[in-house]
Symmetry: C2
Subunit: 337 residues, 2 copies
Amino acid sequence: MKSLKQVFRISCGLFLIVSLTACAVSQTGPDPLPSWIDGPSKQRIVDFVNNVSNSDGNDFVPANERIATFDNDGTLWSEKPTYFQLMFFMDRVKTMAADHPEWRTTQPFQAVLENDMESLHEAGEHGLIELAMATHAGMTIGEFETIVNDWLATARHPTTGQPFNSMVYQPMLELMDYLRVNDFKVFIVSGGGLEFMRPWTEAVYGIPPDQVIGSSIETRYEVKNGKPVIVRLPELHFVDDKDTKPIAINRFIGRRPILAAGNSDGDFEMLEWTTSSDGPRLGLIVHHTDAEREWAYDRESSEGRLDRGLDEADQRGWLLVDMARDWQVIYPYQVVE
Amino acid sequence: MKSLKQVFRISCGLFLIVSLTACAVSQTGPDPLPSWIDGPSKQRIVDFVNNVSNSDGNDFVPANERIATFDNDGTLWSEKPTYFQLMFFMDRVKTMAADHPEWRTTQPFQAVLENDMESLHEAGEHGLIELAMATHAGMTIGEFETIVNDWLATARHPTTGQPFNSMVYQPMLELMDYLRVNDFKVFIVSGGGLEFMRPWTEAVYGIPPDQVIGSSIETRYEVKNGKPVIVRLPELHFVDDKDTKPIAINRFIGRRPILAAGNSDGDFEMLEWTTSSDGPRLGLIVHHTDAEREWAYDRESSEGRLDRGLDEADQRGWLLVDMARDWQVIYPYQVVE
């Protein structure tokens, strides 16, 4: 027969093993970032989130200050062969062309109708704005939302054949979920149109409309036959790019993020603003290195050009995510259960 | 001896009584609006919140669509003898006057330095904007935040002797808490300055900076000696008043509120926009009727003028809250525990 002391020791030992196991499980849990390949990039993200969430640590950040901002084009979804919103412009121009015979001989409309991407690129930002005004204004906000939803439901990407909002990055969806589980408030800060993104960001990214910041056109409040409407006007209100991203962050959020993610030099100032303050900060750049599964481009690309960011990421301590090396899969439809 | 049947009956009866009591308690719970006097106004609010939160009812609204917008001046805090931000302007002008001898003979600065409210009112909106530009621009956003915090910590209201942000309405604090408990997302949509409100709205109202919408000036992003700053410029960006309130709601929130609260004709369009859509909607106007405990004013007031709203509240189904009749107390510091 075992002595009472022995029984006590065995029980205590078992208790300890059970406790430690429970403890280990609760600390690691299921992998919150299964589409991220184990390695330094993933580790850096996990360490950052653990540190700011640990109320006993030196890097603790109160939950209400855990603000994270994400660029959209090239950071949360693809942007090749060209920005998806530009493909939306082009489809709109083609749909509306019957009512605008003059477009057949007027740039940049002619370029769109002839799928002449070279002339379209030559038209530059000014040309894009002209297209935006012609196709995005002159209707109520409700009518525009319907147009966006209809387009997303029917349009397909030229190379993958997928709906455009299926071409979002699975690892970034996991990252945003992981941040939210750890009480971060996650925002989009994009050069894309505010009202082009809002109809679908909540369903696809879990980001509600009031946490979407982007470029916008002017609107007017009108009461027509007793019914108020908000009408979209052919006049630019705000372009959310480069140095205006911190401006927009301050105007819409009113607090400096502690994490910012982008993929191009258009995000440089957002990362700079985010990471040049005291306390723990994470700047993250998605580097498009995967010609096989997505696209490979940086310094020479007309979409998502990444040049200065590539040069300075290291010295600024920004995490350069290598899509080919760091990501298990690219799109949600590639995930094998 | 009692028969088994009797015992069973008694137990069941007791069980039923206990259950029903528990049930009644859990349905009513502690009063979520103790500073609202029982009556039709309070009942209408409670019914509205119950209806939109009841997933079995016809008026159910999914939690992510439960958006509520509140004006600030005269709706969440007092605005007499004049707007608190104007009193801040005036204190700033007096503080800065030593460096601006020309102000002694230039309007509207002279009016401020001489406490000449009549000339100040005559200077109108243009005068106010001039004061705002002179006192609110030319510093970084961080420096301005410090100025606001310092002012709130030291300035006192001329008649109550209270810090300005103590003069918030206890019944409205309870209403905002009650809405949040029922999964509403609560926003401020005010004509006041965005960055004048944000330093204190989270502590006082429970509203984080990104849920504060207001008037704003232009800002510029600059990197000074390697350190980025956002500088406030003497140029108006946006005035959030009347028909621009729905514009701002659409731009910042991107969703139509189901509840809006204001107190003046500056909130008319916000209430109109909120309540002229299908589904359950609540428009609420705080009517200043209490000359004894706060102030009594409406159609003739230069602050918070309420004229059209008073005429049309009834036909539009807006709830006119009568401060004198509906509120048990006005300010938190009057609450007797």
